[in-house]
């Protein structure tokens, strides 16, 4: 009986949650973005200075990052701050709901912070203005230099509460930074926060580097490098900077990706003109051959349960996408549409495969169900490829190149993102030209 009561109580909790007034329907696009007011965080007057940090404006700066995050989703419409009707500290205690409703806000974010004894203490509240109540609140303490991450973590909590889905703001993107003329490109590994801040270069550009990919469980990266003119797959620890060749292959290895548990790397190995798919266990160093076919088999990507691998093969003549069990059995072609298909990437939710499609001189980024049905092309362009999923499976980041003139002038490579609904296409800010993006999992998980 007691257990039944507990279950009923839990159910009650869930029911009240799902009936909250301002849940956002994110199955559609940004047809009607939710108006949200993000009040600057109040900076406690007892705050002390900290190593070159502008403590006075920290509240404004954190709120600006939250605002930018929300605007970038296309699902929210952050309101202009000059229309705000209450001081941050007072609103944080108790908003005058009817006044905030007057400026057409449906949700309100308030907060305050204190920098003291080398620590940053932050709390925030999310208010449902229509229902006139608090939806969620959180307080935490960290080092002040972490303030940008604080803004991203707050953004993730609010996003989660309003959409019912995990956020993706406290994440990073690793990519290939490009510079120089088109026929003498210099390429370096680079990493930045999801919003373009904190760019760091991880290689010097002495050798060609391609296709970095995050381990979904930690901050390790696998990529391809032409170090000493031997194109091989490498493993890189971002924190320590140590790197090593993956396996001992007598030829080119390329197109690496991690298994969902992060313990294996799946990649292509090219020998005598034939590329097949192999895995290597990073713990045992055991190498397994997964495909054995005279065609090109490449761009492998694990399903999130680790049971299947999607890949790209030209065994039927031109590039198409195939799915097999992760031991290589049960190979099935899944794309039959007009055009050729490459770079399948399994969604972290497991239900979709993102891909690049080429048809009649145009390149498309699209998604389809894992059996190849329900194809939806999200964006068409002169050249674009290599989609990578946000950790919540909601947004794709990819790169796009422009057409070059007769001397290679006018050529650019940039990162773009698009919602899987096909809405909200936007360019990601990068310091240099950029390609081959890969999105990390949530840092705080």
């Amino acid at each position: 009986m007691r257990r039944l009561l507990i279950i009923l109580f839990i159910n009650y909790l869930f029911i009240t949650k799902s009936f909250a007034l301002i849940e956002i329907d994110i199955t559609r696009g940004n047809l009607d973005p939710l108006p949200i007011a993000i009040s600057p965080l109040h900076v406690d007057t007892k705050s002390q200075s900290f190593e070159g940090l502008k403590v006075k404006t920290l509240g404004d700066n954190i709120s600006k990052i939250i605002e930018d995050n929300f605007r970038s989703t296309g699902l929210f419409n952050p309101l202009k701050k000059d229309a705000f009707v209450q001081k941050p500290d007072i609103a944080h205690l108790k908003p005058r709901f009817e006044d905030w409703r007057l400026i057409k806000a449906q949700a309100l974010v308030t907060g305050k912070l204190l920098v003291k004894d080398g620590k940053l203490k932050v709390e925030f509240r999310l208010w449902d203005l229509a229902a006139a109540k608090e939806m969620t609140a959180l307080a935490f303490t960290t080092t002040p230099s972490n303030w940008r991450r604080v803004a991203h973590i707050i953004s993730d909590k609010i996003y989660e509460r309003l959409t019912g889905e995990e956020g993706y703001f406290d994440t990073r993107i690793i990519y290939v930074s490009e510079s120089g003329p088109k026929n003498q490109r210099v390429k370096k590994l680079a990493i930045m926060d999801q919003d373009g801040a904190n760019t760091k270069y991880l290689t010097l550009g002495n050798e060609l580097v391609l296709t970095p990919r995050f381990n979904p469980t930690n901050q390790m990266v696998t990529y391809m490098s032409y170090f000493r003119n031997m194109p091989r797959v490498y493993l890189l620890d971002i924190e320590t900077g140590t790197q090593e060749v993956v396996g001992n292959f007598p030829g080119m290895t390329f197109a690496p990706r991690f298994s969902p548990d992060g313990k294996k790397i799946v990649m292509s190995f090219a020998k005598n003109g034939n590329s097949d798919i192999y895995t290597m266990d990073l713990g045992t160093r055991l190498v397994e051959r997964i495909t054995d076919h005279s065609s090109i088999d490449t761009s492998p990507s694990f399903s999130p349960d680790g049971k299947f691998i999607a890949f790209n093969s030209d065994r039927s003549g031109l590039q198409q996408i195939y799915v097999m069990r992760s031991d290589g059995s049960g190979v099935k072609r899944v794309t039959f549409g007009n055009g050729i298909y490459g770079t399948p990437v399994w969604s972290p939710r497991g239900d979709l495969i993102a891909f690049t499609k080429m048809r009649k001189g145009k390149f498309y980024i699209g998604v389809m169900r894992t059996d190849g049905t329900g194809e939806r092309l999200l964006t068409e362009n002169y050249y674009q490829e290599a989609p990578s999923w946000s950790p919540n499976g909601r947004v794709l980041v990819f790169y796009r190149e422009t057409k070059a003139g007769s001397k290679g002038e006018g050529f650019t490579a940039k990162l773009w993102s698009i919602d899987i609904t096909g809405y909200n296409e936007r360019r990601l800010k990068t310091e240099t030209d950029a390609s081959d993006p890969s999105w990390s999992s949530l840092l705080s998980k």
Binding site: L208, L210, P231, I296, Q319, T343
Partner: protein, 158 residues
């Protein structure tokens, strides 16, 4: 009547000239057969009369008649220079996904290597590397540039 006849002749000559000039301009501006590059603009030479590169059709690694002739010249040259080793670099054009192009470049370089081996060159002297679409020789975004970039290049190592 006579005037008419000569006019007709003149017209015929003009017409024929137009056709011929149309033909010659097509050949000149093209330098592409099917979509395989047949020109010499980007070609360098291992030695006099020994071109360093061959060209491929889109998504293909099969050797054309002209490519085979070039490779036979390279084989003869390599037989004469027994201490010379080479690397065969395989390349693709920019109109494909990066990873597939790496595999395609490798396949093209090996097609050239296999052919050289059938003409008696030891595989030990012939290493292979693929650059995919990473090193275009012509940076333009035109069918001509792409045809020049779909290539395998034999490069002396020593």
């Amino acid at each position: 009547m006579i005037f008419n006849k000569s006019l007709k002749n003149i017209l015929l000559v003009i017409f024929a000239t137009l056709i011929l000039s149309a033909c010659s301009t097509a050949k000149k501006s093209g330098n592409i057969d099917g979509d395989v590059y047949t020109g010499k603009e980007t070609v360098e030479y291992l030695a006099s009369g020994v071109p360093d590169r061959i060209f491929f059709a889109t998504n293909k690694s099969s050797l054309t008649t002209a490519s085979r002739a070039t490779l036979r010249k390279q084989a003869t040259y390599l037989r004469k220079n027994k201490n010379l080793n080479v690397t065969i670099e395989g390349h693709a054009d920019e109109r494909g996904t990066r990873e597939y192009n790496l595999a395609l470049g490798e396949r093209r370089a090996n097609a050239a290597r296999d052919y050289l081996m059938t003409y008696g060159i030891s595989g030990k002297r012939l290493s292979v590397i693929s650059y995919g679409k990473e090193k275009p020789v012509n940076p333009a975004s035109t069918p001509l540039a792409w045809s020049q970039n779909r290539r395998s290049v034999t490069v002396k190592v020593n």
